[in-house]
Subunit: 336 residues, 2 copies
């Protein structure tokens, strides 16, 4: 095994000097530096990261937690985080919580054990209080697409209330006046904010939404399917439905097909996320787009800036804005 000692012998210098050319090249004479670099090259020396971490107490690694890997929702954020870190020579250590509270706790501890210099985490199960306690430790923790009370400075997230308002404005603008909504679980802060935003804008236009027309679901295709069936059974009147994510909207497409309901002529559907499937549905799903990759990127940068205590690395807003991705699932009633 090639170690610092091997290199130092070959180069005819001390290990301290080799270490310096690696970490503080400017403190080494040009000539000796070149000699050392040649030796490193020749031997194919690679520093042992564990020894490094042990001695320096830093790992140049940032831990990331997501619910799972097999969803592009998390995939886009992960890619965003990694992109940001690579620029600064940091590594990503990604772990999944398998969407359980236990998994979140374990992942958190495991990443801390692994000496991650900072953490970027997306969690749903742990409470704000529990998360805030972790935050109290030495290493910075950034909450990715999650707003944590008392840790606002470390939270990067979408302005879900505005997004809900945007959804309502868009549908109103298309001439709709009677609505239904299928939300995510109430335990998710996004769901609550989107709901509030949606309702508040309707209220501004003196429109109320029947309580029976707001259904809490679970962000899954099946959940969306079931919700639409329930809405249909109720026989309430509405011309447009706002779904809190695209998977649920996709489930609604299926239900519509089975019930012989045409989208958007008989019912308009608005999704959320602009997931990969949105563009593949027929008709194309109009949806509220959320910049997941940028949220990931910003989270990575914020972690770095906190870690190095360099505010200049992360500048800009911690609050992201949604936009409308217009396709063909919302009817423009004005044009009739």
């Amino acid at each position: 095994m090639v170690t610092l000692a091997t290199v130092s012998k070959v180069a005819g210098v001390s290990t301290a000097t080799v270490s310096r050319v690696l970490n503080q090249p400017h403190k080494v004479d040009r000539n000796t530096r070149q000699v050392v670099e040649k030796a490193i090259e020749k031997l194919g020396y690679r520093p042992n990261q564990y020894a490094r971490g042990l001695a320096s107490k830093t790992s140049k690694t940032i831990g990331v937690i997501v619910n799972r890997f097999s969803s592009t929702y998390y995939g886009f954020m992960l890619d965003g985080v990694e992109e940001a870190l690579v620029e600064y020579g940091y590594k990503t250590l990604a772990e999944s919580s398998r969407e359980t509270a236990e998994g979140e706790n374990q992942a958190l501890l495991s990443l801390i054990d692994r000496q991650c210099d900072a953490l970027v985490i997306h969690t749903n199960k742990l409470t704000d209080i529990e998360l805030a306690q972790y935050q109290n430790k030495a290493r910075p923790i950034v909450f990715m697409n999650r707003k944590v009370q008392a840790c606002e400075n470390e939270s990067i997230y979408l302005d879900n209330k505005s997004a809900g308002q945007l959804a309502a404005s868009y549908l109103l603008q298309k001439g709709h006046t009677s609505f239904a909504m299928v939300t995510g679980p109430k335990s998710y802060h996004e769901s609550v904010s989107r709901t509030n935003g949606f309702i508040s804008t309707l209220k501004e236009h003196a429109i109320t939404i029947d309580k029976d027309c707001i259904i809490e679901s679970d962000f899954t295709v099946q959940g969306g399917y079931d919700s639409l069936c329930r809405l249909l059974k109720q026989q309430k009147h509405f011309t447009a439905i706002f779904f809190h994510n695209d998977e649920m909207a996709a489930g609604a497409y299926k239900a519509c097909r089975e019930h012989g309901i045409a989208i958007p002529s008989q019912i308009s559907i608005l999704g959320f996320d602009d997931a990969v499937i949105a563009s593949h549905l027929t008709p194309g799903l109009t949806t509220i787009e959320q910049p997941l990759a940028e949220i990931g990127r910003a989270s990575g940068l914020l972690a770095l800036s906190l870690l190095k205590n360099k505010p200049e690395i992360f500048q800009g807003s911690k609050l992201f804005t949604a936009t409308v991705k217009e396709r063909d699932s919302v009817k423009d009633i004005n044009r009739e």
Copy 2:
């Protein structure tokens, strides 16, 4: 900071004993073990993984490389790997190559630097020879969904030739006799094998496929779209097209829509992978399903078995079999 020494003092034993209760509990007396465990609990002690790795030369971590995170193709495999490792108390260190040769090399080196006990990698750019060289080092490398010459024992992959044969058999069985095919890049071994399998089965039935009707594409939606347009322009006759993945098939759907071609009445489409989008397309995409999660899981297990030199951890085949996931994009001509 709480270290082994802290614990040992509180428990009134030596650091070696504390280390033993952590790693070889059976070698410690029940009573002293309990005392130590109490101290660990009380102090909230967590072992420093870097010190551990440095001293023991093992990290209980397995590095994984994928092209990127934002595709469920890799996501499913990653989830599979992690699931397998968690059972054995191992961690996943995932890194993306961003689908570049440089990225693959860097990721490989970086994971080795990080003392990963084994590697599970999915690569496309590096040649078999380059990969085999890495394999020659101390730590085991498993090639996930990739067949590497000279490393067959460490390759876990789908039997792509059989899968191609299956595709042909299925279409033949549905009464089709005239075909087109859109493949992935020739540099991908999967593409070549699928093509060979497909053609060989046709040949068995005395059917040849016009060379102009085989188009090499790039696994992207746009690529599939372009390929179908090209096929259409040629005015050759065929009733069914086999796409080497579902993304390209989705692109074909779009092209069909624009050209007013009905699926499956005018043209039948068969995909590959059973990606998430397949079920959301209209009509549902019939596709050759590949068990990605299981391939990931098997790769993880194989890595563990190699690493620990325990064949019993991984038993079963390294070759996986594809199946047909039937939906509505292939017409049954016999029924006319």
